[in-house]
Each structure stands twice: as structure tokens, then as C-alpha cells.
């Protein structure tokens, strides 16, 4: 063999009952290579990685490490064989220090006592070797998300990880933090480690990976070198058809003031996500994008407007009426629609059929409620209408919501909320986890609403989408607004700096 593959997965097939999640998938990673795995949700990326990490046992196929056939019996075995996994959601204990987290679960030289001195020495050694800046004594809770990720990487290296798997590592980072991560990864790869980089973001894959394996519906559709492929070609391979990557938007003159938020203070689940006296407004025919790293107050803001979270001080006015701290029912009556972050737990009732889910937000409406008896006849007709109009692919309206795919469930919620004929539409991560087709559909519908003169508050962590859709973009950091910019002014770099806590005025001043 001419190549020196540190990892080869050959003809991996994984079946769950009748469902084939991976079919004859091949993956070859060389030493010192950063190898991307690209695919939409449900393409089989996670299944493949879970096979590699020993969480699933493949139905067919073999795994080779350093040209040697291996059998991986579980995560511990995977770690022993030099595979390190950095999960999307970090597996760190926030009340422990860095070194304690790294030592966790490892055998100590001086059982039953912990040899902290030795552990710290080795941490420093490994960190220096790989150019990571981590203080072993820092508490995890004091570290930023980017730093925590460095700890996760260090943890994997400390345990002798030769092959590192990173599962959507940039999802929780600002663009600047992502840059730093990429530098780190390139450094580690240079040292001879192999890195598997899982993502659905084309730009990132093109930027950092040497080669990309593309999966579609559980099958390999190709392995390409990133040197000679364009973003559009890559997208085409991933989705299996031509895609338009840009969002086309008509010019609309904003109408009268609809949403007026002033000095809003809300207690959130963490200090960072608690809103600290923020003010902004939105007009008819306007999409206001809310950008920011997850957990900086986006959910608190939307929930406060929708009446799901208590306002401590400040006011929220919609069409001139003060709705601060009104009940969710009262706010719903004023036609404020919400597409919640969690479509499965909040946005729908998974064990209910589609008809019951369709009336979820109109329980008090005379349309479906006659003296406390549900008008199922009307509800059935209404459901059929929305299924038709929003092209919801389903085996019928009597199946339960849990049986719908993510995209179809989101279409249902979107249709239901838009049919409320809302004055104000709050949309939280409406495209998260959807495939490209469904994302396009959601965008289309939101722009239709904008055209009809509706006001939309659009929360997303995907900067491309926020920049494409919004008329104005608000950046939240640590529960405060670091700046409000016009779509034309917005750039990845500018938004990224604001997402990391720099105020727009300071940035502008510095550039003068």
C-alpha cells in the first residue's frame, strides 16, 4: 500500500432494524491529515462516528487502525486504541478545575490517592507540545466556551489520542474563536495526529480540511480534495441537487412601529443569559435578526416577549399596548406567534396527532372551541389545509407528531404560527437541524411574511442566515446588546467581534 492510513473504515454498514443508517461507507484518514465529514442531518455522520467510537457495533465492514484490523468494544476501548472524541456538548464538570477534569476516570500512579503534581506536570507538557494555552488550575466554570473546548482537546491528547474526532465543533463558537480552533487543529495535525472534522458548514470544511468525505442518506457520495472544489460543487454533492446559496430579498420600506422593547431586564438560567436592560424596536415589514453565541440571552428575550418568562423591569410594547408580564394566553390573544427553540418539547406535543397539534395555539379561539368542546370537524379541515399549503410529507393527519421528520414538524409549526395571522412573529432557530431544502422553505415563508408587512424577530446562531435574512441585526453578548447594525453594514468579522463582547461604538472608534 502506498498510503499510510492511520484509520481506515471499510464498507461499513449499520442497520437499525429495517433502517439502514450507513451503507458501505468508506473512510480513509492519513496521518497528519484533517479529514472532513460533510453531510446533512440524517446523512449518517453520527452513526459512522459512533461505530468508530465503539458506541454502535457495525452490521458489516471492518475498521483498521494503522493498517491493523481492530474490534472496538466501547468508548473505553476506543480511547485505549488512540481515538479521542470531542463532543459538541462538552463533557466537563464545571465545578472542577481543568486538571481534575482531565484526571477524571484515569488510573493514578498512587492509587487510591490522586497524584495531582504529576498530572499537572504532564498537562503542561502536553499543552506546550501542542501549543495549547490552558491553565491547569482554572475552574471550568470560569472559562469561556472556546477555552473549554481547548480543555476537551487537551483531555483527548492527554489520554493518548492519535485520532481526534470533533463533532460540529464550531456550533458554539464565535467566528474569532473558530479561527483560533482552526489554528490549534492545524498545529495538532502537523504533529502527526489525524483529525476528523464533522460539519455541515461548507466554508469551514473548505477552510480547514485537506480532504472531505461526503455522505448522503447513509452512503458515500465521494471523497474530494478541498484544493480543487468550489463551495457550490460541494453543496451540490451534499444535497444531491443544485442549490441556491444566496437569499434573495426585495426592498421594503418599513412601516409603523410594532415592537418596542425598553430597558428590559429578565432573569435567565445563567448570569450570562440574563438580560440586562436592553432596548430596541421593530417595524412592520422588518426582520430583526438576533445574533450571538448560544446562551447570551436570546431565549430569555423571546420568552419574555411571548409571556413565557417573567420580566423584572422594563417594558415591552406591541402596537402601542404594554404587554409586559401579561400571561402567555393574553399575549397569544394579541397575535404574537412564536416558533420555539425546541420543536419537540415545546413547539409540539409528540404523542398527539397532527390535528391536535394544529390547535395547540388556538385553544381559546371560538374557531375550535365551542363551550369547551373541541370542534374536530373544523380542526380536521384546517389541518388538511396547512398540510397541503406547507407541503408536509406525512402518512396522514392521524399519525403522531413524533413520527414526522424534523423538517416536516417544523413546517407544521411554521404553518400553524403563520396561520395565526400574527402581528409579530418570533422565530427561534427555525432552521436548526433541517436539511437544505427545508431551510430554503422556511426562509421563503418568512420572507413572504415580511412582504405582507409582518414584523419578524429572527434568532439564529448561523451568521450567514442572519445576515441574509435580516434588515437589521442585533448582537447579544452576556445579556446586553453590543450593537445594532444594518444588513448592509454587517460582515462576519464585525458581527463576530460584537458576539465576543466588543461594543460597536468601540470598534468604529478604533477603526477611525
Amino acid at each position: 500500500m502506498s498510503h499510510n492510513y492511520s484509520l481506515s473504515m471499510k464498507n461499513i454498514t449499520k442497520k437499525f432494524g429495517d433502517f439502514t443508517a450507513n451503507e458501505n461507507v468508506n473512510l480513509d484518514v492519513e496521518k497528519g491529515e484533517i479529514h472532513g465529514i460533510l453531510g446533512e442531518n440524517g446523512a449518517g455522520k453520527s452513526t459512522l462516528m459512533n461505530v468508530l467510537y465503539g458506541l454502535y457495533k457495525q452490521t458489516e465492514g471492518d475498521v483498521y487502525i494503522n493498517e491493523e484490523k481492530v474490534q472496538i468494544d466501547g468508548p473505553l476501548d476506543a480511547i485505549a486504541k488512540g481515538i479521542g472524541m470531542i463532543h459538541q456538548h462538552f463533557m466537563l464538570i464545571s465545578a472542577f478545575s481543568v486538571s481534575e477534569n482531565i484526571a477524571l476516570g484515569l488510573k493514578s500512579q498512587k492509587e487510591p490517592f490522586i497524584d495531582m503534581v504529576e498530572i499537572k506536570r504532564r498537562i503542561k507538557e502536553v499543552a506546550e507540545e501542542n501549543n495549547l494555552t490552558v491553565d491547569p488550575d482554572a475552574m471550568i466554570s470560569d472559562l469561556s466556551v472556546g477555552q473549554q473546548q481547548q480543555v476537551e482537546i487537551l483531555k483527548a491528547l492527554y489520554r493518548g489520542g492519535e485520532i481526534l474526532i470533533l463533532d460540529e465543533p464550531t456550533g458554539v463558537l464565535t467566528p474569532q474563536e473558530s479561527e483560533k480552533l482552526f489554528a490549534t487543529l492545524k498545529m495538532i495535525a502537523k504533529k502527526g495526529h489525524s483529525i476528523i472534522f464533522i460539519s455541515h458548514k461548507l466554508d469551514e470544511v473548505l477552510e480547514i480540511c485537506d480532504k472531505v468525505t461526503i455522505l448522503r442518506r447513509g452512503k458515500n457520495v465521494g471523497v474530494v480534495s478541498t484544493e480543487n472544489i468550489s463551495k457550490k460543487e460541494l453543496a451540490g454533492l451534499m444535497v444531491g441537487r443544485e442549490v441556491t446559496l444566496s437569499i434573495e430579498k426585495e426592498d421594503i420600506k418599513p412601516g409603523k412601529l410594532v415592537l418596542d422593547v425598553s430597558n428590559l431586564t429578565v432573569k435567565g438560567s445563567t448570569v450570562a443569559s440574563s438580560l440586562k436592560s436592553i432596548s430596541f424596536s421593530a417595524r412592520e415589514g422588518e426582520i430583526i435578526g438576533i445574533a450571538g453565541v448560544d446562551g447570551n440571552g436570546q431565549r430569555e428575550l423571546v420568552e419574555a416577549i411571548a409571556g413565557l418568562n417573567k420580566v423584572i423591569s422594563g417594558t415591552i410594547k406591541v402596537n402601542g399596548e404594554d404587554i409586559t408580564n401579561k400571561s402567555a394566553k393574553e399575549i397569544l390573544k394579541r397575535k404574537i406567534a412564536l416558533i420555539p427553540e425546541s420543536r419537540k418539547v415545546v413547539g409540539s406535543v409528540c404523542q398527539f396527532n397532527l390535528v391536535d397539534n394544529m390547535i395547540l395555539r388556538q385553544l381559546y379561539d371560538k374557531k375550535f372551541n365551542c363551550w369547551g368542546v373541541i370542534k374536530y370537524k373544523e380542526a380536521n379541515i384546517y389541518t388538511d389545509e396547512i398540510i397541503e399549503e406547507y407541503d408536509i410529507r406525512t402518512a396522514g393527519k392521524s399519525i403522531c407528531a413524533a413520527q414526522l421528520s424534523g423538517g416536516n414538524l417544523q413546517k407544521l409549526i411554521l404553518g400553524r404560527e403563520i396561520h395565526l395571522d400574527p402581528n409579530l412573529l418570533l422565530a427561534m432557530h427555525p432552521t436548526r437541524g433541517l436539511d437544505v431544502g427545508a431551510i430554503e422553505f422556511v426562509h421563503e415563508k418568512l420572507l413572504e411574511q415580511r412582504k405582507a408587512g409582518k414584523t419578524i424577530v429572527y434568532v439564529s446562531t448561523e451568521l450567514e442566515e442572519v445576515m441574509g435574512l435580516s434588515d437589521r441585526i442585533i448582537v447579544l453578548y452576556n445579556g446586553k446588546i453590543t450593537g445594532i447594525v444594518d444588513q448592509l453594514e454587517a460582515s462576519r468579522e464585525l458581527l463576530g467581534r460584537m458576539m465576543a463582547g466588543e461594543y460597536i461604538d468601540d470598534i468604529k472608534e478604533a477603526s477611525l
Binding site: K329, V345, V346, C350, L360, A395
Partner: protein
């Protein structure tokens, strides 16, 4: 389109058959385990079960006895199922039953001069209200302070029980009687018998009407809808604009009201007065009934007849074979355990135990 519809029908009936299958297995396993205990007592279990069966279906009296036992179980079970649907466990059936019985007795023995039908309606309302308050307190504590309703309802049982004991010991005690018990219900107010020579009474017909009402309530009304949303996803309930605070209290109150009515029926049709031990663990057996009936009103009806038969048959089994009647307590407990384990275990072990098909669950993605 037609094909899809057929598929749906198939799917539905498959789920139903699966349900029935699981329940049947649970009952059979429970009977086998009870049989082993009977064997230890030196009695042939088949003989014991034969006596149990014969005791119920061998005579009109036995069938009447089954109906008499099934009536309160059905009523309390319906109530319990509503709490379950709302994501709560109401173990306070006994307490709510007693409060209903107490208030119904007071209303029956102390108010005079009302026309009988109006008096009767008043008595039912008062009993329902009593149970509702007793259940509603636990609901309020849960809604307001997030206390565990399982513990609260059990504790409320004790409070009700001791209030009951105190009342029949002194304020409500019939001065002419030897035992601590209340004055008897005036004859015109007593619930008539269904079958002469048995204890079966027309309360069962009243209960049957409530079965239909509960079915409609759960499946066709906004109240039922809200109960189910809260039970499945409280966050979705808040999102839907439901006042979960008020609804939580209401669910427990409605649940308790059924037990309260059961208490009234038991006094007015069986005992005709308040006396020690009238609740007789119906609250517990009603949990079996609700779970066996899969929280479906019609299912609960069938389950209540089954458990009623078990309880009624146990007495004649004790007389003819010497096996203590309390053995059916074991049967009931094992049934509950099996059903709960099967509901909560991902592997659905009852299915696995008896079907060859191995089912792997598709995870993530």
C-alpha cells in the same frame, strides 16, 4: 391514499392487540406467582383458582358481589386515570373517598324536608366536592410549592382517616349503637338494589354513565386536551397559553371528585352508615384498575370488573379452600409491577419475553 388509510388502521389495531397481549401476559404471570404462594400453603393452586372462579360465576350472588366490588373501583379508577393523564399520580383515593363519604352522610342525615331527587343530587354534589377539595389540596401544594403529589396524597389519606375515626367516635356517632358508627341513612335515600338477593346496586349504572362522560371529557373537550398536554409536556402547555397552575389544581380536584362520589355510593348502597374500614383500600386497587385499563375509560370498566371479580372470588376461595383472601393482594401488586416495568423499560420486556422478533430502537439522527 386508501393504502395509507389501511396502513393506519392496521397500525391502530396492532397497538391495541399489543396492549391486550401485554396485559394478558401480566395477568397470567401474576396468577402463576400467586399460584406458587398458594402451593406453599399446601393447597393445589388450580383448585384454589377454580374456587375463586366458581365463587364469582357460579351463582347470581357471586356476580352481584363482583358488581358491588367493581362499582367503587370503577369510580375511583376513572378519577385516578384523569390524574395519570395529567402526569400526576393520585394515591389519595382512600382519603378522598372518606371525605366524600363523610360529607354525603352529613348531608343525608342532617338535612330534612327536601324532595328526595333534589336531596339526592345535593348529596352527590357535596360528596364530589369533598373529594375534590381533598384532591385539590394536594394539587394546590404541587402547583404552588412543587411538592410531590404522591407523598402529599398518601399523607392526606391519614389525615382523612383520623378525622373519620374521630367523627364516628364522637360527633357523628349514633348514640344508640354499640360500635362507633354514624346514624343510618334514611331508607328513601338509600340506593336501590340491582339484583335482589345480592349487593349489586344501581350505582353501577350511574358509574357506567360516568364512564361515557369521562371518555368524552378526555377525548372531545378542551379540559381533556389540556390535561393531556400537561401530562405529556408541561412546557408545551405553557406555550399553548394554558394556566398550568390552575389546571394542576383542577386535575387533582376532578380526580378526587370521583373518589368522593365513590365514597357516597358505598355508604348509600352498601353500608348505609359510616363505619370503620369502609374505604377498604379502594384507592390502591383503583390504581391497578386504571393501569390495567390503560387509562382508557372503557378499558377501566373492563379492568374494574376483573379486579372486582378477583376480590369477590377471593372470599369464597378462602371459605372453600382455606387460602387467605389477601392472596389477591399479591396478584394485584404483581400485575402493577409488571405493567409499570413494561411501561418504563425501553426494551418492553414483556414483548421480548414472548415474541421472537428482536427490535432494535433507532437512536439519534
Amino acid at each position: 391514499m386508501i393504502n395509507i388509510k389501511k396502513l393506519m388502521l392496521k397500525f391502530k389495531s396492532e397497538a391495541l392487540i399489543n396492549n391486550l397481549f401485554n396485559i394478558t401476559i401480566a395477568i397470567v404471570v401474576a396468577l402463576i406467582i400467586s399460584g406458587i404462594f398458594i402451593l406453599f400453603m399446601g393447597v393445589n393452586p388450580f383448585y384454589a383458582f377454580e374456587m375463586l372462579f366458581y365463587g364469582v360465576f357460579g351463582s347470581v350472588f357471586g356476580i352481584g358481589e363482583m358488581l358491588a366490588k367493581a362499582t367503587p373501583l370503577l369510580l375511583v379508577g376513572l378519577g385516578v386515570s384523569i390524574a395519570f393523564k395529567g402526569g400526576m399520580t393520585n394515591l389519595g383515593g382512600d382519603g378522598q373517598f372518606l371525605v366524600g363519604a363523610i360529607l354525603a352522610t352529613i348531608a343525608g342525615t342532617n338535612i330534612v324536608g327536601l324532595p328526595t331527587p333534589i336531596h339526592m343530587i345535593l348529596i352527590v354534589i357535596v360528596a364530589a366536592l369533598g373529594g375534590a377539595i381533598w384532591g385539590g389540596i394536594a394539587g394546590f401544594l404541587k402547583a404552588k410549592y412543587n411538592t410531590n403529589e404522591v407523598i402529599m396524597t398518601i399523607m392526606m389519606n391519614y389525615i382523612a382517616l383520623y378525622i373519620f375515626s374521630y367523627l364516628i367516635e364522637s360527633p357523628l356517632r349514633d348514640p344508640s349503637g354499640v360500635l362507633p358508627q354514624s346514624k343510618s341513612i334514611p331508607i328513601p335515600l338509600q340506593i336501590p338494589k340491582l339484583l335482589t338477593g345480592t349487593r349489586a346496586h344501581i350505582g353501577i349504572i350511574f358509574a357506567l354513565i360516568l364512564v361515557i362522560i369521562v371518555y368524552l371529557l378526555v377525548n372531545k373537550t378542551m379540559f381533556g386536551y389540556k390535561v393531556k398536554v400537561i401530562g405529556i409536556s408541561p412546557k408545551a402547555a405553557v406555550y399553548a397559553g394554558i394556566n398550568t397552575f390552575r389546571q394542576t389544581i383542577l386535575i387533582m380536584a376532578v380526580s378526587g371528585a370521583f373518589a368522593g362520589i365513590a365514597g357516597m355510593v358505598q355508604v348509600y348502597a352498601i353500608h348505609f352508615r359510616l363505619l370503620d374500614g369502609i374505604a377498604g383500600g379502594f384507592g390502591f386497587s383503583a390504581i391497578v384498575v386504571a393501569l390495567l385499563g390503560r387509562l382508557n375509560a372503557y378499558g377501566i370498566l373492563i379492568a374494574s370488573l376483573f379486579v372486582g371479580a378477583l376480590l369477590a372470588g377471593a372470599n369464597s376461595m378462602q371459605v372453600s379452600s382455606g387460602v387467605p383472601a389477601s392472596i389477591v393482594g399479591i396478584t394485584q401488586a404483581v400485575v402493577i409491577l409488571l405493567i409499570l416495568i413494561n411501561q418504563n423499560s425501553k426494551s418492553k420486556f414483556l414483548n421480548k419475553l414472548f415474541s421472537k422478533k428482536e427490535r432494535e430502537v433507532v437512536q439519534d439522527e
